[in-house]
């Protein structure tokens, strides 16, 4: 799942990731995101969104996910390195950087999913 206020960004991300074989839900408004959580392995959240920050979106989704028994990985997705360095403080599981670079996104996403599996194995 990708949450970003820009429809253009969402369209581009969805197009690239769908070509790689991922099933992608895109949302420009986090309001309806909780309903899709059960089907997601990983949630990408934009840092800057009008009226609400990525951290607040994360907190509400985590609560909703726990209530539903869904525990996807929550990753910050931004090109703002300063913001992404705070991802742990904000409660994200990780951060995907170089937002806008589709090839980088594909590689980072694959690594993030591998990382998630490995983390589950070591728990």
């Amino acid at each position: 799942m990708v949450i970003d206020d820009s429809e253009l960004v969402l369209g581009r991300v969805k197009s690239r990731l769908t070509r790689e074989g991922y099933e992608v839900f895109t949302l420009s408004n986090p309001a309806g995101a909780a309903r899709q959580l059960a089907q997601c392995d990983l949630v990408l959240i934009d840092f800057h969104m009008p009226g609400i920050g990525g951290g607040e979106v994360l907190n509400s989704l985590r609560k909703a996910g726990k209530a539903m028994g869904a525990q996807p990985l929550y990753f910050l997705y931004t090109s703002d390195k300063t913001a992404s360095r705070k991802h742990r403080d904000l409660g994200f599981d990780g951060a995907l950087i170089n937002k806008g670079d589709d090839e980088s996104l594909v590689q980072q996403l694959a690594a993030a999913l591998r990382f998630a599996k490995l983390r589950r194995m070591t728990r």
């Binding site: 970003d4 206020d5 820009s6 253009l8 960004v9 369209g11 581009r12 197009s15 840092f47 800057h48 969104m49 009008p50 990753f75 090109s79 703002d80 390195k81 300063t82 992404s84 360095r85 991802h87 990780g94 951060a95 995907l96 950087i97 937002k99 806008g100 090839e103 590689q107 980072q108 690594a111 993030a112 591998r114 990382f115 599996k117 490995l118 983390r119 194995m121 070591t122």
Partner: protein, 793 residues
């Protein structure tokens, strides 16, 4: 000797100490010195050179049995000891034998002398005893006093039980005895007989051996001295001989063995015809065999290395500590700068960045792999990284990664990674992908055009300008509410708000491939990032910089708009368009057509299409026709803001297509002919629009050879060009000029006429000559055209 007293520092130890058997108890000073001797380079080397200390700790000693199971001391030491011991034993035995014989000789001489004195004394005592003259006996004894050697003398009766007279010089034992009473004395006895042979008694004399003992001691000392000297000289000689004959050749063999162990090519002299010569020859054979084997191994290694290097793979081996071992291919050094001891994580992901999820995933994978049983390795391979992208200063390299279990000894495990250089392939793929993306973008652009022209870009421009206006307000000194708030919270809010707006602008700019705009936004974002790091302290200089940055962004946005307008055939109109449904528009047109008022005219204006829409396909088509006809043709389309009625717009593209094809096929001459006629090599076809009395008129002209009116037949040329052209509009009439596959079937102009007539327009010939042709598409007279146009609508 159990304890050695080692010399003080700076003094050589005695030879006995050096050659002595290794002592277990050296004392503190001895231990220190021995340590110094055996560990100090000079002494160690010197002792080794002399063959007196074993080289058990040197290179060859690394492969020797443990010290506890080895005999200590060198062969030379042991031989020296043995030689000295043997020589000393032989010398000692010889000296003992010689001294014993000398003593016996002295003793025998003394005994003989004593016997002679006793016999003489017995002869002189015979008359005295025969006559029983005691005084004579006593006087005879006194005569012996002159001999200092005689320590005791006695004249004994015939039964020998008691001395008749005796003499004692006070130094001996002083009593008669049957032999030597002391070690330093000898005793002899001689019988005294009368002339008739009757035994009268006997005399006993005891003689001191002091002189003999003294002489014997002197002789013995001399013998021992000579023997010792001889033994020492002989031992030294034997040591020297052994050193030259045995130790030195063995030392050379040892040195050669060390050099051989270090990988040198060696050969020792083997000219002796003895056991050492045989040993040397055997050694040389062994060295040659080892050398040959080394050479073969080195050649094999070189072949393997060359094989590795030509595999196009970087090969690395690392252990559970993540550190690289020595085994690696040259490509690994060249591509990945891999050195033994480096961390594999740092090699593959050199930027130690906590944000690098690929590095984190690889690190986690290594944790799991080295913690799991070996038989799980294949399953875990699925979670290993498969691709790697490395950025250098000048280029990016792409690798496919493959992991193997290199070694498993007990719990120790080593992994091998094969990194295959797939840069060219990946670049090709990316190039194809980029082309796909360009194609996709073009499709997307077409899609955007089809779904509403440039209204998406127009929307982006509009919203972005609003965002920039907001940014300007935020940065304005007053009365903007946020910027005016000078406390830290206000400045934080200001910076974060700017960030948010600019972030969105940048992301959307990227979607429209507006790289320069994106770059300008990025510059301002960097400035904001700096302020953010500076704890949101915003100075006046910062505000000025940010304002200038916003103006730069605005200019880039204007540039983007200008570039789009210039590239669009519709010009600025492109940004003023919205998509409406044709069926609904047609209904509106039909509904308004019955009216003849302002609404009807507005509806006609609403439905009118830009003339340039009809030009859209012409440039490519004309270029294709000209190429097929082997001619050079230049098409000049002069777009302006002219619009054509909806009905005409639907047929105008086809009509122009017919006319331009005819111009290329019949009008424009081949290049040689044009040059002969003094015309430019490339023909020109021009299309433009002008307002006419009844509406817009479209002109099509060329600088070709003009209509061949004579060829139309019927004396058309003689009557007038207009009538001849009217004849050309009749189906089946053709000039018959060779138009190839493009034209000349007598179908084009009549079809054009029909199409135009159907929408209330007609085509007319304005002029034709060998310098060119000018045609006009103009509305039919009002009454006729209106009816027809309604029909089409």
């Amino acid at each position: 000797m159990r304890r050695h007293h080692w010399p003080r520092r700076g003094r050589l130890p005695s030879l006995a100490a050096w050659l002595g058997a290794p002592s277990r108890n050296y004392g503190r000073a001895g231990t220190k010195l021995r340590h110094r001797l055996t560990s100090g380079n000079d002494w160690q080397r010197r002792l080794q050179k002399w063959g007196l200390v074993s080289r058990a700790n040197d290179k060859l000693g690394e492969h020797a049995p443990p010290a506890s199971s080895r005999r200590t001391g060198s062969l030379a030491t042991r031989l020296a000891f043995g030689t000295v011991f043997l020589v000393l034993c032989v010398t000692g035995i010889t000296v003992m034998e010689l001294t014993h014989r000398e003593w016996q000789r002295l003793l025998e001489s003394k005994r003989t002398a004593a016997d002679m004195v006793a016999n003489l004394f017995a002869g002189t005592m015979a008359p005295a005893l025969d006559f029983g003259d005691a005084d004579a006996v006593k006087a005879g004894l006194d005569g012996l006093r002159s001999n200092p050697m005689i320590v005791y003398a006695a004249v004994l009766s015939a039964d020998g039980t008691s001395p008749l007279a005796e003499y004692h010089n006070g130094r001996g034992d002083g009593g008669p005895s049957d032999g030597a009473r002391a070690e330093g004395e000898i005793q002899v006895q001689s019988a005294v007989h009368s002339p008739t042979g009757k035994r009268l008694g006997s005399v006993l004399i005891r003689v001191s051996l002091a002189q003999e003992v003294h002489a014997f001691r002197r002789t013995r000392a001399r013998l021992i001295g000579f023997g010792t000297l001889f033994a020492g000289a002989l031992a030294s000689l034997l040591v020297v001989i052994m050193r030259r004959a045995l130790v030195a050749p063995l030392g050379r063999l040892e040195a050669a063995a060390i050099r051989l162990a270090m990988g040198d090519s060696v050969e020792v002299p083997a000219d002796r015809d003895d056991e050492l010569g045989s040993l040397s020859r055997a050694f040389n054979s062994m060295a040659a065999a080892i050398d040959e084997r080394e050479r073969r191994i080195a050649a094999q290694n070189r072949r393997l290395q060359a094989l590795f290097d030509n595999m196009g793979q970087a090969i690395l081996v690392f252990g559970s500590d993540r550190l690289l071992t020595e085994e690696r291919s040259r490509s690994a050094e060249r591509w990945l700068d891999a050195r033994p001891g480096n961390s594999i994580v740092d090699i593959l992901y050199p930027e130690d960045d906590s944000l690098d999820i690929e590095r984190q995933a690889f690190d986690a994978w290594l944790d799991v792999v080295f913690g799991a049983p070996a038989d799980k390795f294949r399953e875990l391979l699925e979670l290993a990284p498969r691709e790697l992208e490395r950025h250098t200063d000048s280029q990016s390299m792409f690798f496919e990664l493959s992991f193997r279990l290199a070694e498993q000894v007990g719990s120790s495990r080593q992994l091998m990674v094969l990194a295959t250089d797939v840069t060219e392939r990946r670049r090709l793929e990316r190039s194809v992908l980029e082309k796909d993306r360009v194609y996709e973008r073009e499709l997307s652009a077409l899609r955007r055009l089809a779904t509403g022209g440039a209204q998406l870009l127009g929307g982006f421009l509009e919203v972005t300008r609003l965002r920039l206006a907001t940014c300007r307000e935020l940065l304005a000194p007053s009365p903007a509410p946020v910027a005016a708030d000078n406390d830290a919270g206000g400045e934080r809010l200001l910076i974060e708000s700017l960030f948010q707006h600019l972030h969105t602008i940048r992301a959307e700019a990227r979607c429209f491939d507006l790289a320069q705009l994106e770059g300008e936004v990025s510059n301002v974002e960097n400035e904001l990032g700096r302020i953010r790091k500076d704890d949101y302290r915003v100075s006046d200089v910062d505000v000025g910089n940010l304002q200038r940055g916003i103006e730069h962004i605005t200019r880039r946005l204007d540039d983007a708009e200008r570039a789009f307008v210039e590239a669009s055939p519709l010009g600025t109109t492109a940004l003023d368009q919205i998509t409406v449904r044709r069926s609904r528009l047609t209904l509106v047109v039909e509904a308004a057509h019955a009216r003849n008022d302002r609404v009807a005219r507005l509806v006609d204006d609403l439905a009118a299409r830009p003339l340039v829409e009809s030009f859209a396909l012409l440039p490519e088509a004309v270029a294709r026709w000209a190429e097929r006809a082997g001619k050079k043709v230049q098409l000049l389309l002069e777009p302006d803001k002219a619009e054509v009625p909806l009905a005409l717009s639907r047929v105008l593209g086809g009509v122009l297509s017919h006319l331009l094809r005819n111009a290329v096929a019949h009008g424009i001459e081949p290049e040689p002919e044009r040059l002969t006629r003094g015309k430019p090599a490339a023909g020109t076809v021009r299309v433009w629009a002008e307002p006419g009395p009844a509406g817009v008129e479209i002109h099509v002209s060329d600088d070709g050879r003009g209509f061949d009116l004579d060829a139309l037949g019927g004396g058309a040329a003689a009557s007038s060009a207009q009538r001849a052209f009217a004849l050309a509009l009749t189906p089946g009439v053709t000039t018959g000029s060779p138009g190839g596959e493009l034209a000349g079937m007598g179908v084009g102009l009549p079809a054009v006429q029909n199409e135009l007539a159907g929408v209330g327009y007609q085509i007319a010939l304005v002029s034709t000559s060998p310098r060119g042709t000018d045609l006009t598409i103009a509305p039919l007279p009002r009454r006729e055209g209106r009816v027809l146009e309604r029909h089409v609508g």
